[in-house]
């Protein structure tokens, strides 16, 4: 096994996931029962992983990263929305689909124009929902279910259901693999770093935590609740749009069902990253860790020859375990 000794440049998912999993939201690491459980679980995973044939190969690391990218990018955006207290969006896959359609339909205007249009559309659709939630204090789940119906219905109406084909192949540039990694992976890493910086260093990011922790207090204190919430959703929209663009490029055509199970996959990644669904705590890097962890586990199970059902089952149990570990520390209940 010549390849097995060769360490991949970015390392397998679990390696990058590990330190982030442990980071405390406020920065410092405090040993807790749940933290210890997490370390043990991760060590176990690493043990299982490294004893799995072909796990420690460059190709495999690349595959893990690549299969994390689409869901990961959206999940990074979803993290901001969860932190700001809007829980989740149920309209993600519909939005990604519509963006993908627009992206392919505008290829003849040039790649970057098409990208711009697609991102603008994603931001507009999603930020509009964010504005309603932020300024009017609407329930995000009800609103996004409605938005999902509306977007899906309108997309079917206008496209008549036929796939959208690009008139030029300009998008193929986005399928490039510089240094052997697909472009989406770089975008994923870039998005994660950017999101983390926004959250921890910018005024808006810091206000997101405060608003998510206690919306009424934020409002009474005169924090710009509506504006900041809209901003978080706008960022989310840009992330969904990027995913849609990559999905479109990858598939070279777009149909109404392109988004697939993106909605729940993204939520799962954010939750495994330990972001609290009640808002106020979480981190983009940990979401990246969560997304990588899920891909890594799927990968290990796949390499070990487990069937699809077992993979899904394990993913579910993993999410459950992390949710229990993460939320056991807080007694705040979901309201």
């Amino acid at each position: 096994m010549p390849r097995a000794t060769q360490r991949p440049p970015l390392g397998p998912g679990s390696d990058t996931a590990e330190p982030e999993q442990l980071a405390d939201p406020s920065g410092g690491w405090r040993p807790t029962v749940s933290g210890v459980a997490l370390v043990v679980a991760l060590l176990a995973l690493i043990a299982v992983a490294v004893t799995t044939q072909r796990f420690l190969t460059l190709d495999n690391a690349r595959a893990i990263l690549a299969s994390t990218a689409f869901v990961g990018i959206t999940a990074i955006g979803a993290t901001l929305v969860m932190i700001v207290g809007s829980a989740v969006s149920m309209a993600v896959s519909q939005t990604a689909t519509v963006v993908a359609m627009m992206f392919l339909a505008t290829q003849q205007l040039g790649l970057w124009t098409a990208v711009l249009i697609a991102v603008a559309a994603g931001v507009a659709i999603t930020a509009a929902q964010g504005a309603i939630i932020g300024f009017w204090n609407s329930n995000p789940i009800v609103l996004t279910i409605a938005a999902g119906f509306a977007i899906g219905g309108i997309a079917t109406w206008f496209s008549g259901g036929t796939p959208v084909y690009p008139q030029t192949q300009a998008f193929d540039l986005l399928n490039a693999t510089p240094l052997g990694l697909s472009l989406a992976v770089y975008v994923l890493l870039g998005t994660a770093v950017l999101a983390q910086w926004v959250l921890s260093r910018t005024t808006a990011g810091r206000q997101m935590y405060l608003i998510g922790e206690n919306r009424a207090a934020a409002r009474a204190a005169g924090l710009p609740v509506g504006r900041v919430t809209t901003l978080a959703w706008a960022f989310f929209g840009a992330c969904i749009a990027l995913t849609g663009i990559f999905l479109a490029s990858f598939n070279t055509s777009a149909t109404v069902t392109l988004g697939g199970t993106l909605t729940l996959d993204a939520i799962a990644a954010v939750l495994v990253g330990g972001t609290a669904i009640t808002g106020g705590r979480g981190s983009a890097l940990r979401t990246l860790g969560g997304a990588l962890l899920i891909s890594t586990i799927s990968d290990v199970l796949l390499l070990r020859g487990f069937p699809t059902g077992a993979q899904i089952l394990t993913k579910g149990l993993l999410v459950l375990a992390v949710v229990v570990i993460v939320h056991v520390r807080t007694t705040r209940s979901w309201r």
Partner: protein
């Protein structure tokens, strides 16, 4: 659990012996003992964090003791839950309002009462409820009204009425009157006396010491989790009680100083009106002075502040800050204009409890600590340190979550957040010392006085006469949503009381 020979004070109905409880190794209650006789009204006093509520939680089945025992009518009990305590006849009014807005008044009264049958018997229950409400001075409220339609004070009264009507052996009331007006408090006291008269033991917790002495037979004082004294109330004065609580005599505030006329009018409020709550409130406030809005709950005092803070979207009127109109229906623009609001509820509408003290202190001024939208960490840290020092918070706790602070210190964080910097022009505080002990209260009063000295307009609303008199340079009394009188200087408790309870249209 039971049976074993238990000997307590002969006539004791409730006997607590050697009760202890710690949280994460920190003792909240240590070796507390006292006894309450049948029909006795027994007060628990002590400053914030002394352990009163923890004792209450141990007695009412919300917490299990680490050591010690609770004996009810000669039988040792071991409550594993609220229900278990309730089965033994312990009724409770928790420190935090614990009624359900989503239910009707009647449903709230029935909730959790073990005497209420599993299958509903509505008509019978409604009649009972009607009578209980009338006794509590709530004749105007219908049992079928959703609780969400009631004011906070009325909700509190419903909760008290509920506890007193449960045919309990022991009723525990943890700061039941903190949100009540004096008239309402009188109703509560007579109701408490009535159940005590029927042989029920009562444990009463309050920071309003004169009210404690007026109502209770015996007072047990807790200090740092220990019971330091149990004394008949008739043998105590308020000052003596304070000495017991603090272990030393309290520091008195120096008299308010004369107003420096150099300070020009800063905040002009004209014809402020909130439909159904406040009519025609007019006040011109100058920098450097403390304005006190005196009024019971529902008097409109608190609505003045909420309206100014942008939290009453229906408010109308004209408000000017430094001669410029204040967009007072929008909390964001109000804050940007330099008005800081401290609500009367630091938990749900105040602090970010799961966030560190430092981040709470700078929460409202992040834009000013940022360059091009990026928060400057060093500047942030410096500001937090300065604010902590200014508000008398221990520097060592800057990185702790606010949740881990005592109530008094939490309130200091809340007030401290509004201080310092040239970015705040007016402080609006609603009950700035609610539930804060004597020491904490003096600290907060000092902070507010200093803020005024630094040239801020300070307006606060309070229901407590002491506080109004101690702190207010100008006192505006309010009732029924309208201003009754305005005092500068010569005023006394009796005058204030009369204005607040009878208003202008008094006979």
């Amino acid at each position: 659990m039971s049976g074993s020979a238990t000997v307590g004070p002969l006539d004791a109905d409730v006997w607590v012996e050697g009760l202890s409880r710690s949280f994460n190794g920190v003792a909240a209650v240590r070796d507390v003992s006292f006894a309450v006789g049948a029909g006795e009204i027994h007060a628990l006093c002590g400053h914030n964090g002394a352990g009163k509520s923890t004792v209450v939680k141990l007695l009412s089945g919300q917490l299990a003791p680490d050591a010690g025992r609770i004996v009810l009518r000669g039988e040792a009990v071991d409550f594993r839950s609220r229900q278990a305590a309730q089965r033994s006849g312990v009724a409770l009014v928790d420190q935090e309002l614990s009624v359900i807005p989503a239910l009707t008044v009647l449903e709230n009264m029935l909730l959790g009462d073990i005497h209420v049958p599993f299958v509903n018997r509505r008509r019978w229950a409604a009649a009972d409820c009607r009578r209980i409400l009338d006794d509590m001075g709530l004749g105007h409220i219908s049992p079928d009204q959703p609780l969400s339609a009631l004011s906070i004070g009325e909700r509190q009264l419903v909760e008290i009425a509920k506890a007193l009507s449960q045919k309990a052996r022991l009723v525990i009331l943890d700061e039941p009157t903190a949100t009540l007006s004096d008239v309402e408090t009188e109703h509560v006291f007579s109701a408490i006396r009535r159940v005590a008269g029927l042989g029920c033991s009562v444990i009463f917790v309050s920071h309003r010491l004169s009210e404690v002495l007026a109502l209770c037979d015996t007072v047990t004082v807790l200090r740092d989790g220990r019971s330091v004294a149990t004394t008949p109330a008739r043998d105590l004065t308020v000052d003596e009680l304070i000495v017991q609580m603090l272990g030393a005599a309290p520091r008195r505030l120096t008299a308010t100083r004369a107003w420096d006329p150099a300070h020009a009018p800063a905040l002009r409020i004209e014809h402020l009106h909130v439909p159904g709550r406040l009519s025609d409130f007019t006040l011109t406030a100058s920098a450097g002075r403390v304005y006190a809005l005196a009024g019971q709950l529902g008097s409109g005092a608190s609505d003045v502040l909420r309206a100014l803070a942008g939290l009453h979207p229906k408010a109308t009127g004209v408000v000017e800050l430094h001669g410029r109109p204040l967009p007072f229906r929008d909390p964001v623009r109000v804050a940007r204009a330099g008005l800081a609001f401290v609500s009367n509820d630091r938990k749900s509408e105040g602090l970010f409890l799961g966030t560190s003290v430092a981040r709470n202190l700078v929460a409202t001024r992040l834009p000013r600590l940022a360059r091009a939208g990026v928060v400057q960490s060093r500047l942030e840290r410096r500001t937090a340190l300065a604010l902590a020092e200014q508000s008398g918070l221990p520097e060592g706790r800057l990185d702790d979550d606010v949740l881990a602070l005592s109530g008094g210190n939490q309130q200091k964080v809340f007030v401290g957040r509004c201080l310092g910097g040239g970015d705040v022009w007016a402080l609006l505080l609603d009950e700035p010392t609610r539930g804060v002990d004597v020491g904490g209260r003096a600290e907060i009063h000092r902070l507010l006085r200093e803020a005024a000295d630094h040239g801020l307009v300070v307006i606060f609303a309070s229901t407590e006469l002491d506080e109004l008199l101690e702190l207010g340079d100008v006192i505006v009394t309010m009732r029924d949503g309208r201003v009754v009188n305005r005092y500068e200087g010569a005023v006394d408790e009796a005058l204030l009381m009369r204005d607040m309870t009878h208003g202008v249209d008094a006979p």
